[in-house]
């Protein structure tokens, strides 16, 4: 599977399924493979920087590169201001504009403008050339997109802008962005989900919309937080029976607790399996299965376990 052999990769999925975790793991795996990686965080929470253990730079600026990965926070208003800086080069005027109430109306009214600018900024980074080397600045730009509905809105903006706006600067630029986003050789949209009811339903819809409405190239489906252990009911029953007949209080408790954890894990594994089958049937794209990593606190060490899995899949 080629999971990061693209110029631009979007990681999308329902809230909380592990988009940031997967985007970080992908970035580390690509970095290990010797690539220069830019990881873009769009939702403004700097969780990725935190997970990777680097300081977050100010919005729109690439942070220091560590292990081949540099993190950038992208924020709609900052991207818009940056863009306006190019269109309206006179700083004094620019400030008058962005600080006026009118500007707030403009941005709110042209809803989608911020999203458009965000995607524009991502496009700019993805095709940007390295001033010294002459090659591309980044081998791969990985985008940790906001949760589903909103995430797709970002992806939709360039073609919406191209179709809706009259001839103008935005239209011409939108066309270039659309060309990159819909080119399967250069771009991939990776989906992330867990094998549970709501995320799976949303993923099925999302896959269809990416294909049919957005007409963008789907990459792989990451199924995250999978439970895999399955214990035989007979073993669990035997534990419970032993717990009942044991006369020592500590042993009694231990046996019943081990049994209940075994039943719990088996339950999750069964549930995950059921939804994995649904995904197999309804989202027929290459799949990467990532285990639930148990820990007191999910951090860099847990992340590295997932990186190993991704390298194995790649």
């Amino acid at each position: 599977m080629d999971l990061f052999d693209r110029q631009l990769i979007f990681v999308v999925g329902k809230g909380g399924v592990g988009k940031t975790t997967v985007a970080c793991s992908l970035a580390l795996a690509a970095g290990r493979a010797g690539k220069k990686v830019l990881l873009c965080e769009v939702d403004g929470l700097s969780r990725a920087a935190q997970l990777l253990g680097v300081d977050a730079a100010e919005p729109g600026r690439a942070g220091r590169m560590v292990d081949g990965v540099s993190v950038m926070g992208i924020e709609g208003s900052a991207a818009l201001a940056e863009y306006l800086g190019m269109v309206v080069p006179v700083r004094r005027f620019l400030q008058a504009v962005t600080q006026s109430e009118l500007y707030q109306y403009f941005v709110a009214a042209a809803s989608g403008l911020k999203e458009l600018m965000t995607i524009g900024k991502i496009w700019y980074e993805a095709q940007r050339t390295d001033e010294r080397g002459g090659g591309r600045q980044w081998d791969v730009v990985i985008v940790d997109a906001p949760a589903t509905g909103h995430g797709l809105q970002y992806l939709r903006m360039p073609s919406a802008a191209r179709d809706a706006f009259g001839a103008g600067l935005v239209r011409r630029e939108a066309e270039k962005v659309v060309a990159l986003l819909s080119d399967p050789k250069r771009t991939a949209i990776h989906l992330v989900t867990t094998a549970e009811e709501m995320p799976v339903n949303e993923t099925v819809t999302m896959a269809r919309r990416v294909r049919e409405e957005l007409r963008m190239p789907l990459g792989a489906l990451f199924v995250n937080r999978l439970h895999t252990e399955q214990f035989r009911p007979a073993d669990i029953d035997a534990l419970l029976a032993a717990a009942r007949s044991s006369r020592q209080r500590d042993t009694k408790l231990l046996l019943s607790e081990v049994a209940s954890r075994a039943a719990e894990e088996s339950g999750w594994t069964r549930l995950n399996k059921r939804y994995l089958r649904e995904l197999e049937r309804d989202v027929p794209i290459p799949r990467v299965e990532l285990p639930f990593v148990f820990s007191e606190e999910f951090g860099r060490q847990q992340l590295l376990e997932l990186v190993d899995q991704i390298e194995a899949a790649e």
Partner: protein, 376 residues
Amino acid sequence: MSAGSRKSIADVVAGHDVVVCAGSGGVGKTTTAAAIGLLGATAGRRTIVLTIDPAKRLADSLGIAELGNRPTPVPVDVKGSLSAMMLDQKGAWDALVERYAESDEVRQRIFANAFYQNLSGTFAGSQEYMAIEQLSQLKESGDYDLIVVDTPPTHHALDFLDAPSRLGNFLDRRVMRWFVRPYMSAGWSGLRVVNRTAGALLRRLEDATGVSALADVSEFFNAMSALFEGWDERVKRVEELLRSRQSAFLLVATPEEQVLSEAEYFCSKVEEHSIALRGVVFNRVQSELGSDRQSMEEDAIVEALGRAVTSAATRRRLARNFLRYETQARGDQLRIESFRDQLSPAVAVATIPNFEEDLHDVRGLRRLQDFLGKPG
């Protein structure tokens, strides 16, 4: 404060007429709201749950999968009654337009207006606002003793609180009047009065980008001026309802670090909104089973399992599985404890385990409901 020394969520529900469930995306707001509804109905109250985007199977079992945008009785055996209703955002805006547009022609123009389509679909705060708008309609109907309000999936739980005033501000800023005045609505000329420099530059921007946003806004506000005249009043009424003693805010959170830090921020801000936080629901918590056994060595556990399970490999797997869960549980517990410590003693708390089954039917909701009744 130790576990069990606080009021239960059920106590809070019993003492209020409106219960709002807020929290970050995906933490279980919709599920909790449904369970609270069931709790109220079981206690004999005429209850309605105003839900947003429920899992399809939950919607099915509540009977609101189709035509859910009006109160629909839920077939459950309870002392009171339970209805559910889905927030239909687009439909609600359209209904407002239907009501306030002065002619068919104006109505059609609004429906076709690009700004309206954005406003009703994706405009920040509009979904939250419509939830609150529908809440006040339900309240005024007098048909219910208890209204449980689910909130839209936002990254920030606070968005819900901000929505009415944010939308109110947006619609009420002084500048907006320029849009509404017919003689000023010819486009940019009116705006120059407000800010010459900005007006001129934005006009250039509009030319360059091909976005005709402000013309759309202007048209929209003209057509809808009847609606917006009463807007201030409505926003104020709704805010008063949310702030009154009849309403309780509950925060739903999972024991993950980023969710809890978001929750912490929420708690620190509710006061600024003059809204009292009445309870916190910790959802999907891995509970600790026995604090003295979780520090046992793997080998010791394997040995203790000796007589019960014959396969050595299975014993090893069982022991590892047990310890993995206990590790996870310890983390959850530590994070929750440090969060609880900062809550005022008056705030009720419930801890709901992470069930290894879907909670998409009344039976599942009942399981959850039991935990809402335990003292925090």
